[in-house]
Symmetry: C2
Subunit: 333 residues, 2 copies
Amino acid sequence: MTEPKFDALCIGNAIVDILARAEDDFIVAEDLHKGTMHLIDAERAESLYAAMGPAIEASGGSAGNTAAGIASFGGQAAFIGKVADDQLGDVYAHDMRAIGVHFGTARLTGGAPTARSMILITPDGERTMNTYLGACQALSPADIDEAVVSDAAVTYLEGYLWDPPEAKEAFRRAAAIAHAAGRKVSITLSDPFCVDRFRDEFLGLMRDGTIDILFANDSELRSLYETASLDMAVAALAGDCPLSAVTIGAEGALVVARDGVKKIPAVPVDTVADLTGAGDLFAAGFLFGFARGMDHADSARLGVIAAAEVIGHVGPRPAVSLADLARQSGFEF
Amino acid sequence: MTEPKFDALCIGNAIVDILARAEDDFIVAEDLHKGTMHLIDAERAESLYAAMGPAIEASGGSAGNTAAGIASFGGQAAFIGKVADDQLGDVYAHDMRAIGVHFGTARLTGGAPTARSMILITPDGERTMNTYLGACQALSPADIDEAVVSDAAVTYLEGYLWDPPEAKEAFRRAAAIAHAAGRKVSITLSDPFCVDRFRDEFLGLMRDGTIDILFANDSELRSLYETASLDMAVAALAGDCPLSAVTIGAEGALVVARDGVKKIPAVPVDTVADLTGAGDLFAAGFLFGFARGMDHADSARLGVIAAAEVIGHVGPRPAVSLADLARQSGFEF
């Protein structure tokens, strides 16, 4: 097996975020579940946009944010995701390439526009997402570049890929190619309601050996095992997946491996400006550490460093070099 | 004369900002003048975008930022500017209406795309702008809504409007309507190189009584009078315009009236994150105070409060309520 060119290939919905502050009252009035992702159609996207406040735009998407985080650590990352041949697609492609992420997916022409997610940030820093998938609906197995998958230490996939019709087939194809090349396959559960939609399929992927590394936060994990007890969910997880990293908010993260559970405390943060990207950036740190042969605890430490950076400002991607932050915390790479 | 419906009507280039961090080396390598605005064509826009780092997008444009600031103070603002019928035009129109700014200018269809400015923010917080005017080139006298002009206490115009071919005619038409309705006309000099391009015309507007209130920063004012001495420029200004407000960076602002010069100190700022919008937001505070009948010193105090807010974060418009900030500083309105 040759040395992989990429630390990770991230595959996910390519989404431009539209980030706006909102009061809790607005979340209630719009009948939204705070802290979760809502899939919306074009009509709802228009009416919600008309109702919400002024915004800024930033390239996002869960796996895209993770790829950006890996690049910020100085890692080699690739991304597969579908944007349209429009202005927001230009923005998305620019932001990927400008940070050195390999991004070669063919754009959708003559179809739906580039996906956007209207992200409402409440005063507590929590984000509530409203995603119009647009061009992401067209991601298909033909978009999986076999050479890139084979050349990535880890192929990392969003649970959100279960929503667009053909993307789950793209996901399965990528996983098969990765394993055939002797690489690892990883997934994030993405969102508690996403888990609710696809619980049996996600558990099936874990139990049939498709997933080598699982990422989740506590509410996603409790949703997966339909339990209010994080301890019970973690115990079940240990039997279903060889390696998992579970973020537990302000407490940090748990690494769940066959040989036991380790807790890594969070990096303290003065003010949580915007939780958008916290889980995605945790995954970036962990995957970068994993791909570079660090132990699980150090990999998780890189994860909490990255998560702390991204929640300190509005926007889903790092505003400063994560490599510099890691080195300031004593890492050498 | 009836009570005006709008505190101010702002007329300017409607631009989406593309904000990115950059090192000083990059500014030098791209042959840019730090702290100023460069007009670029579509080809240069493409090559610079390809060379620069990852960015965020935010609705901007000098007069648009001022309108947003007035709205944030709780004022009634209107805006006239030209966007295209495209995704960035949607973003711009949304952001105006979401803050309650009246914005009814017809969009350009089948022509150039919505304008964008690539704004490079160096570690000192200074911003260097690279503007592709796009649809702004199509702003014409027909876009001046006579009813709105007549109904605004002040019509505020960008010096940048001298760049698009027909916009200066739109500017002159608006000024004539405003004066015929017994309202005030104001201009910002916008940029030292803009002053260099149109010095005689700007001086002519001041001297023929078109301009009632002038905004400038120190370098624009020194450019106007072609002197290295701010004192000499201020002395000349007092003879050319009945009322002027001159921002002098970290020192604050000068109010230059026929009865003398007053200095208003700046509000101290911990860290200058991004100077984009500083002058625009100063003008917002001053115009809001002026329209509400405050004295010049208090109007300038509102200006420095607004400027301090906008330079504390990345982006050209307020992130919090300026009305709240002003009330915290003892203002009652």
